[in-house]
Subunit: 422 residues, 2 copies
């Protein structure tokens, strides 16, 4: 966890406002859930590895006393959310009667994971998600993809590629190779590591896990086809020969890719990628992520999770979401790519340090400062120090553009640029 | 803790943006601290009753195992912040070399207190603070008061009264009555309850705590003077006859009241209130709060706490802050007082539900929707349902102003107001 200094907060705020502005123009609306959820919700969410990283909050008062009396188990009842998707499903299950149908939600807020601290990874970090609950089909998926690409492109992040796949196509691949139906999630978990450990690593894991050797062999011969650059969905469809109940997923994905390609903002592209798996166990259909040459891992990821709400509500509700890794985005913007574009929204406004000699000067200084503020300037009262030259240097270093003083007898302040003094 | 629905989030966002806009125009800048702090920081902060309400986060992995092996103590190492002031002091102590001097900070974010749930009180709630660290004196205090009143008045909260006192005047009262110097904090805690338990209650508490009966008797005779409406600082100064080292506090407060009175936004007033104590143990000088007839308790409170940073940094740093009770403010705005004014900032923009018949319609619908968005409208794609009339009714109920459809062969959408259909 870390502190955020004023310059970075301003970059973060400007980026968040720009993203939210785009999402709002697509009809999404912000919602908020609490940081703490019941542990039993978080632990039963198919959140994969993240469930092991939950910060657990201790019971309090009598509840804690009686838990301690029963032994060292069961001491915690709440946990800090590790993503924004599991709380959203709970939010929808509890509030759906009062929510628009479909719900088009924007969430931006902190999540917590007790990961081993490492460079660029923090235990509290911000996610920025949009989700549509209550509506299935590619209208939703197309809108999520286009709005997210528009938001990123609007911040000046260039060279976007949307990688798209469908969990049902992965299931078809598993069936085609002959992996047992009840062992497919293990197959997905190994396949998901292809980027990190390579083909040999994945095949080794499958062997170690005791999957059917014949299935592994068929998968090994299919892998070069799957990894082919710009593998077309058409040719994979011919290779896999999907069964009648499998074909609609292939057809829907083909439509989605065609529609998205025509509408993506300049320079962005959408590619079918049959090696895209994504880690969470809860995905049920289309999955996608966005990569940019500016960053080694994906900037955004998401997909369809039509059965998560059902576990809480008792009836399935179609759901699909896209999550921007806000910290990664800020890292890209902070390195210069989009920062100037974001900062430009603050331009044209003077930041004036109004030097006040002493308390007796306040009755005249305050109306003069108010007049400048009324004209659109930022005006900060600063008590004049003995070493005024050094003070002006420091003010300039902290982003002030001008300083103001009040001459004896005058009502209006004299404003001078700081650069020439510093 | 509770979920926030879209309408309320929009009110909260608009209010927060308006407040932050005013604070920025006064030269304050947003900073952020993490939600979790080390427990030992939170527990040693003179946070009063709040320290008992900390949500404690359990240790993890080996740390937890070894704590459990040592018994049931010491199982937690982190805690959720209960206010924004204690984390700010830690932030300043750790980052001051990279921060502007003085630091003029805006913080807005959630805090957590494990209070017994009751109406209108939540275990997670938002505070909105401004603080100036690194500069003493009334220039700072005047700016905090004026900026906060301007922010509240800008939201349409009327009839603001700023109640002002100084901890050093309270110390002078205690000395004047003859309370022992080492028992003054006990005297303050009892005196702070005057609003709730009345004069007899306070005197009873002082007697029960075993304070000097002669001091209690002098305090009893002074109380009617202190409680007099519009008690003037001048007349209290004459009554108390402050010693030479006590006089500057009285003089500074007189200047502050005079300067503030001349600059407050229309309808607001500043009153000296010698019965204002405020709960926290960490205040050292001027203290203030803002009340409005629209709300039974104070909307904002704060004061000077010149010794908090010193406990962490080893040298004292002057510090003063003002905290808006954001949940109370939203309650006032939500009841109608300021809500229309806040909502007005969203006005003039159509919210259009763009009805899409099926996936095949997307390639024509998307450019038409994009064109409307480019012209400033909010456009949400919605799949047309069989019962379109019912769907339009519902869309109208959820705040859509218009709906759009695409006629066969046309490129541009036909937009119709929803009201007439619904």
């Amino acid at each position: 966890m870390r502190d955020v200094l004023p310059d970075e907060v301003e970059l973060r705020d400007a980026a968040a406002q720009a993203i939210i502005g785009v999402y709002r123009s697509h009809g999404f609306r912000r919602i908020e859930t609490p940081a703490l959820e019941h542990l039993r919700l978080l632990l039963g969410s198919e959140g994969g590895e993240n469930e092991k990283l939950i910060f657990k909050v201790m019971k309090r008062g009598e509840d804690l006393d009686s838990a301690l009396a029963r032994g060292a188990h069961d001491l915690a009842d709440l946990g800090l959310r590790f993503d924004l998707t599991v709380p959203l499903a709970r939010y929808y299950a509890e509030n759906h009667a009062r929510l628009p149908d479909p719900l088009k939600a924007i969430q931006i807020g902190p999540v917590w994971r007790a990961e081993r601290p490492q460079k660029g990874r923090y235990r509290q970090f911000t996610q920025c998600d949009i989700d549509v609950l209550g509506e299935g089909g590619i209208v939703v998926e197309v809108e999520l993809i286009l709005a997210t690409c528009e938001a990123l492109a609007g911040l000046g992040v260039t060279g976007l590629t949307v990688r798209v796949n469908d969990r049902r196509i992965l299931t078809c691949i598993a069936r085609h190779c002959g992996f047992a139906a009840d062992r497919q999630s293990g197959f997905f978990i190994a396949f998901d590591k292809l980027d990190k450990i390579g083909a040999e690593g994945v095949l080794g894991e499958l062997r170690d896990a005791g999957h059917d050797p014949a299935a592994i062999a068929r998968f090994e011969s299919l892998l070069p086809v799957l990894q082919k650059r710009e593998m077309s969905l058409d040719s994979l469809t011919r290779t896999l020969a999907p069964a009648t109940d499998e074909a609609p997923a292939f057809e829907a994905l083909a439509t989605l890719l065609r529609v998205v390609a025509a509408e993506l903002p300049g320079g962005a592209r959408a590619d079918f990628d049959p090696t895209l798996v994504r880690g969470m166990g809860y995905y049920t259909g289309t999955i996608f992520e966005i990569v940019s040459p500016a960053f080694p891992s994906s900037i955004a990821g998401g997909g369809r999770y039509d059965r998560m709400v059902g576990r809480l509500l008792g009836r399935d509700v179609p759901a699909c979401g896209f999550s921007i890794g806000f910290e990664r985005l800020i890292a890209i913007l902070g390195e210069g790519g989009g920062a100037p574009r974001v900062a430009a929204s603050h331009a044209g406004r003077r930041r004036i340090a109004f030097l006040v000699d002493d308390d007796a000067a306040l009755p005249r200084a305050l109306p003069a400062a108010r007049a400048l503020r009324g004209a659109g300037d930022v005006v900060s009262l600063e008590r004049r120090r003995k070493n005024t030259r050094k003070q002006l240097d420091e003010l300039h270093g902290h982003g002030f553009s001008d300083y103001a003083t009040l001459e004896a007898g005058a009502d209006a302040a004299v404003v001078k640029p700081l650069r020439s003094e510093a």
